[in-house]
Every structure is written in structure tokens, then in C-alpha cells.
């Protein structure tokens, strides 16, 4: 009897302790932020309908440009690698299995111009350059910034320009305004991007360099395998901010105004390039000619407008146009 009573007491105590630990797990009130910034409330804001359908354009084959495609590829499938976590440039809309975006529309238009059929392959961003070197894909359109370093591995045909923006949590609790405000903070970026490199490596104009010059601590950089994970990390508060291409930051704010807020100015505006393996012969010339034609006949502008990124349009595409 005594024994049973003791066991019963232990059980009750265990239940009480367990319940006490778990209590309040349902609370999600953001007490801290609401008190410091009464003008802004996190968790408010209505998501807007961000563009998610392909541009309505029809592109005909141009026989002259098509003849520049290497003989072994003519009339076949053009396989294009893209990391579909980067809306509005390349992504899967909720519930859809077909990749869409500015790069996808442009890729399809280029393929049609050269008389081929585009096939977009979803790939992790930091593996695309290696995949191109191994000829897993014919080319890649995945918001690649054309840089001197990447030109060692691939050739680029420039087709767009974009800068880098800082994304903070809604209401900007860390009060971030410029790149040097990121010093000593936890900052995320996608693996293999110029932004992650800028956070980690001290080179001319990089965030790490600016922090060092200002005598401040380097940012604590966190690299994630795709942009979706970077967004999740910021939403969960694992990082204080992230760096990404401006169109991507803008799109994320439109889609999640209750979670995110763009802060500061756009920096490091640089050309996007279509990445093409070095030993692909005249493929890059054909692609360049196709891009020029799409710009001349208005298809290019129509596609950019469809995704709300016409601010990044360029008029003079070149092969390997890196500035740094």
C-alpha cells in the first residue's frame, strides 16, 4: 500500500513537471518588438498577389541564328540548369510542378529563336558551375552574376542587371541601414552566391572588408543550400538579416510583408550572365544573337514587365561583361 502511494505521488509529480515545462508553448506573442517600436507591428501586412504565371509571348525560329548552334546540338533539347528557389527569376509557384520565372521565360524564348526546345533542370546553385564543367547541362540561367572569378570556369552572355539588397525582419528590430550595420551580426546568404562570398571574404568592396576597414567585427556569415532556407532562417530568427539580389528581396517582401522588410540601399549592381561551358563552340555566339533579337523585337521587355523586374533591363548584351 505504502509502495503504491509512493509510486502514485512520483507519477503526479512527473506529470506536473512535464506540463510546467511545456506550458506556454502555444504563445506566439511578440512582446519585445511590440514595446520597442509601437509604430510597426510584426505579423501584420497582407500578402499581395506576386506574379506567378509565364509571360504571354510567342517567339519564332530565326534560321540565321539557329545555324550558329553547334551541329551536334541543332534542333535538339537545350537543357538549362536553374536553382528554383529564387523568385521571381526562377521558382515553382505554390502547388505547381513547372518552373516559371523571368529566366525561364527568357530561356524558352532563346531556345525557340534557335529552333530548339528548352528543358529546365532544377539544381542546387553551388553545384551548377561544376555541373556545367561536367556537361550535365548545356547552359544555366539562374540569376548568375557575371564575375571575373566565375569566368575562369564558364563564359557568360550578359542579359540583365541587378544589385544586392539587405533583408531584415519586419520592423527592422536590429535597426540596420547600411552594409557596415551588418558587422558582428548574423547574416545569411545562399551557398555559392556573390553575397555569401562578400560576407566571408575580404576583397575590394566586400562587406567583410568594409567591416575590417571600419575596425568592426566581421559579420557571422551563414550559408544555406537554397534561398528558401535563407528565408526560413530569417523568419525563425536564426539570422538577423540576409543579402540577396534586389528583385528577389523585393518579391519576398511583396509575398511576405508580415515577416520581412527591405532595408538600406541597393549596392553592387552587376550584370547577370547566361553561363555557358567554355568548350561549347559557337553556342555563346548563338545565345548572344538570340538575346539581341529578343531585345530588338520587344519580347525581352514584355517578359521583364511580366515579372515586375523591368528596372534591371539592359540594352547592350555582351560576352563576359564582368566589372569585377
Amino acid at each position: 500500500m505504502n509502495m503504491r502511494l509512493r509510486a502514485g505521488c512520483a507519477a503526479v509529480a512527473a506529470v506536473v513537471v512535464a506540463a510546467a515545462v511545456l506550458a506556454g508553448c502555444g504563445t506566439t506573442a511578440n512582446k519585445n518588438q511590440a514595446s520597442t517600436k509601437p509604430s510597426c507591428t510584426a505579423g501584420t501586412g497582407t500578402p499581395q498577389n506576386a506574379p506567378a504565371t509565364p509571360a504571354k509571348v510567342t517567339v519564332a525560329k530565326d534560321a540565321t541564328i539557329a545555324s550558329q548552334i553547334p551541329a551536334s546540338m541543332q534542333g535538339g533539347t537545350l537543357s538549362i540548369a536553374a536553382d528554383a528557389s529564387y523568385p521571381p527569376n526562377e521558382f515553382f509557384p505554390p502547388g505547381k510542378t513547372t518552373m516559371v520565372g523571368m529566366d525561364v521565360d527568357l530561356g524558352n524564348a532563346i531556345a525557340n529563336t534557335v529552333g530548339m526546345k528548352a528543358k529546365f533542370v532544377n539544381a542546387s546553385f553551388d553545384g551548377i558551375l561544376a555541373g556545367l564543367a561536367a556537361h550535365k547541362y548545356n547552359l544555366s540561367m539562374s540569376s548568375f552574376t557575371d564575375t571575373k572569378a566565375r569566368q575562369q570556369t564558364v563564359d557568360f552572355v550578359t542579359y540583365f542587371k541587378a544589385g544586392t539588397s539587405i533583408m531584415a525582419k519586419k520592423c527592422n528590430p536590429e535597426n540596420l541601414k547600411t552594409a557596415t550595420d551588418l558587422c558582428g551580426k548574423k547574416v545569411g546568404a545562399e551557398n555559392g552566391t556573390t553575397q555569401l562570398d562578400s560576407l566571408q571574404t575580404k576583397s575590394a568592396g566586400s562587406v567583410a572588408q568594409e567591416c575590417a576597414s571600419a575596425g568592426k567585427a566581421a559579420p557571422v556569415a551563414s550559408g544555406y543550400p537554397d534561398q528558401t532556407n535563407v528565408n526560413t532562417a530569417l523568419a525563425a530568427g536564426r539570422i538577423d538579416a540576409y543579402l540577396a539580389d534586389t528583385p528577389v528581396v523585393d518579391y519576398a517582401v511583396v509575398a511576405n510583408p508580415n515577416l520581412f522588410q527591405k532595408v538600406g540601399q541597393t549596392t553592387d549592381v552587376a550584370p547577370y550572365g547566361i553561363a555557358i561551358p567554355k568548350d561549347s563552340g559557337t553556342l555563346k555566339n548563338a545565345v548572344l544573337a538570340a538575346v539581341k533579337k529578343l531585345m530588338a523585337d520587344g519580347t525581352y521587355t514584355a517578359i521583364l514587365k511580366n515579372w515586375g523586374v523591368q528596372a534591371g533591363g539592359i540594352t547592350n548584351p555582351v560576352i563576359n561583361g564582368a566589372q569585377s
Partner: protein, 334 residues
């Protein structure tokens, strides 16, 4: 009828063996002296020779390509093999392996004992735990734990459904490393509990029955009688799980914990030298699993002492035996 005839043949056979057979063999051996030495021809193994030639050729081709294919970029491998960030990544990998195995073994043992409990609520809870944590991918669990703050930003201590006493910031309560540890450790506990349970069930029922007959209580029987005997079955797969865990930790690179894999990813993220840097990671993983394999061999040998009469010699002992035999034979020749 049948019984009679069988008895008859039995008698006949008995007479035959005792009568002539025995005496004949005796006279034979004494008459001809020592038997002729057997000229045994060893069994030929042409298959072995063919296999040796083919495998040797393939091996030579592999080694040749390792040295001549410039794409391996051994210079860059050498340059990055002992970089400080890589060494730090190795420490993180080892820490994660050791701590998550610790969580796995401790919690796994508790779960196994709970599962075998006669209390249906306790055993049901253990079953549900294993069902859930074994039924979802460890990668998903790691992401879940590290981004827990998106679900519960401010967990608190207090009376259930009543007032809260203390409120925590989930991200401070569970730092990134701990998130990774929870993901790996809690998942491992589900697997370890099945291993421990198998070990407990492998001990003969009679052992615990005898102990109960002596008046021992359930937990005492478990602690004194069952668990020590179960160790023999539990230890080898645990070593296996540890080696597997060492490599599973590379999954934490997805939540930006800088382990060995993430450390090399950070390097090739900026210099685009994928192959040599993945080689750096592979070389270190191989070194670490090799060391663990050796440790596992000796631990297994230790726990086999209870059941095996004579333990097989270790590779080291075998080497020493060959050495001393050779010394003895050369000594005789001199």
C-alpha cells in the same frame, strides 16, 4: 516378423566386425612398416590467378589515373587538408558525433526499457516515439529543430494553461549547434532503442525467471542480470551506428552549422575547386571512420569474452606470430 529379421541381421553384422576386420588391420600395419608418404598435389586455383590479374590491372589503372589526371588537383588538396577552418570543421563533426551518440544511447536505453514495461501507457509512449522519430527523415528533423523558433518563438515555464513564470527566446534556448544535436540525437535514440530492446530480448527468459525466484524486483533484475548479458548483442551494432553517425552529421551543413563538409563547401564556394575540396572532406571522413572501425573491433572482442572459448588473434597478434615464426626458422637454419 519384421522384428525377428532385423535382430538376425544385426547379429550378423556384429560378428563380422569383431571376427576378422580388427585383426587384419593390426597385422597389416606391423608387416609393411611405416606407410608411404602421401604425395599430395595441392588443389589448383586458376580462378584466383585470373581474378588477381584482373583486379591488379584495374588497381594499377586507378593508381595511374590518380597520379596522371590533373583534374584531381592534388596540390589544392594538400594545400587545404590542414587549413584551420577544415580542422575546426573536424572538431565540430567529432563533437556532434560523440554528443548525439551519447543522447542516442542514453535515451535509447530508457526507451527500450519503457517499451518492455508492463505499463501500457509507458510502453505505448515509447512505441509512439520510435514510430515518429524513425518514421520521419533525419534531415527534416534537423531543419525542424533549427527553425523551431518559427513555430514557438517564446516558450515559457508555468502552470499548464495558466500563468507563465519565465519566458525564453527559442533561439537562445536552442542555439544552432544544439538544434543540430537534437535533430541527430533524438533520431538516433529511436534506432538505439530498437537495438537495446533486441539485446534485452536476446537474454534467455530463464535468467530473469531465476532472478525473480530469488526475490529480485523488476528493475534490479534488469540492472544486475539482463543488461550485462545483453551488452554482447548491443555493443557491435552501436559501434556500427557511431560510424554511420559520423557521416550523417554532414547533414547539418544544410542549417549552416560549420562541420567538416560545410567547411570545405565554404572554401569551394569562393574558389570553385569542387573536386579537390570534396576529396579533402572524403579523406578526413575515411581517416575518422577507420579509427572508429579499429576501436569497434577491440570493443567487440572485449564483449565476446563471455561466449567464445578462445578469441581469434587480433591482426597485431597475428603479425607478431608470423614474425616470431620467421625468426625461429631462420635461427634454425643458422
Amino acid at each position: 516378423m519384421t522384428a525377428k529379421s532385423s535382430r538376425g541381421t544385426g547379429d550378423l553384422a556384429d560378428q563380422g566386425t569383431t571376427g576378422t576386420g580388427a585383426t587384419e588391420t593390426v597385422s597389416d600395419s606391423t608387416g609393411n612398416g611405416a606407410p608411404e608418404e602421401i604425395r599430395a598435389i595441392p588443389v589448383r586455383h586458376p580462378g584466383r590467378w585470373i581474378a588477381a590479374v584482373i583486379i591488379g590491372l584495374l588497381l594499377a589503372m586507378l593508381v595511374h589515373s590518380l597520379f596522371t589526371n590533373p583534374n584531381w588537383q592534388w596540390g589544392i588538396v594538400k594545400q587545404n587538408l590542414t587549413t584551420s577552418t577544415v580542422i575546426h570543421g573536424i572538431w565540430v563533426t567529432l563533437e556532434l558525433t560523440a554528443l548525439s551518440m551519447l543522447i542516442g544511447v542514453a535515451l535509447g536505453a530508457i526507451l527500450a526499457i519503457m517499451r518492455l514495461s508492463p505499463n501500457p501507457v509507458v510502453s505505448g509512449a515509447a512505441w509512439t516515439y520510435v514510430w515518429f522519430f524513425r518514421g520521419t527523415p533525419v534531415l527534416v528533423q534537423i531543419i525542424f529543430w533549427s527553425f523551431l523558433a518559427a513555430l514557438y518563438p517564446f516558450p515559457s515555464l508555468g502552470i499548464p494553461f495558466g500563468p507563465e513564470w519565465v519566458t525564453f527566446d527559442a533561439n537562445k534556448l536552442i542555439p544552432l549547434f544544439v538544434g543540430a544535436l537534437l535533430g541527430l540525437g533524438l533520431n538516433e535514440a529511436a534506432y538505439m532503442s530498437e537495438i537495446v530492446r533486441a539485446g534485452i530480448l536476446s537474454v534467455d527468459q530463464g535468467q530473469s525467471e531465476a532472478a525473480q525466484a530469488l526475490g529480485m524486483r523488476r528493475l534490479l533484475v534488469l540492472r544486475r542480470i539482463v543488461l550485462p548479458q545483453a551488452m554482447r548483442v548491443i555493443v557491435p551494432p552501436t559501434g556500427n551506428e557511431t560510424i554511420s553517425m559520423l557521416k550523417t552529421t554532414s547533414l547539418v551543413s544544410i542549417i549552416a552549422v560549420v562541420d567538416l563538409l560545410k567547411a570545405v563547401q565554404n572554401i569551394y564556394g569562393s574558389n570553385y575547386k569542387y573536386i579537390p575540396l570534396l576529396l579533402v572532406a572524403s579523406i578526413w571522413y575515411l581517416i575518422m571512420t577507420s579509427v572508429l572501425s579499429v576501436a569497434q573491433y577491440y570493443i567487440e572482442r572485449h564483449y565476446a569474452r563471455g561466449s567464445a572459448r578462445a578469441l581469434p588473434p587480433t591482426p597485431f597478434q597475428r603479425l607478431r606470430a608470423v614474425w616470431s615464426r620467421r625468426r625461429r626458422s631462420t635461427g634454425a637454419a643458422l
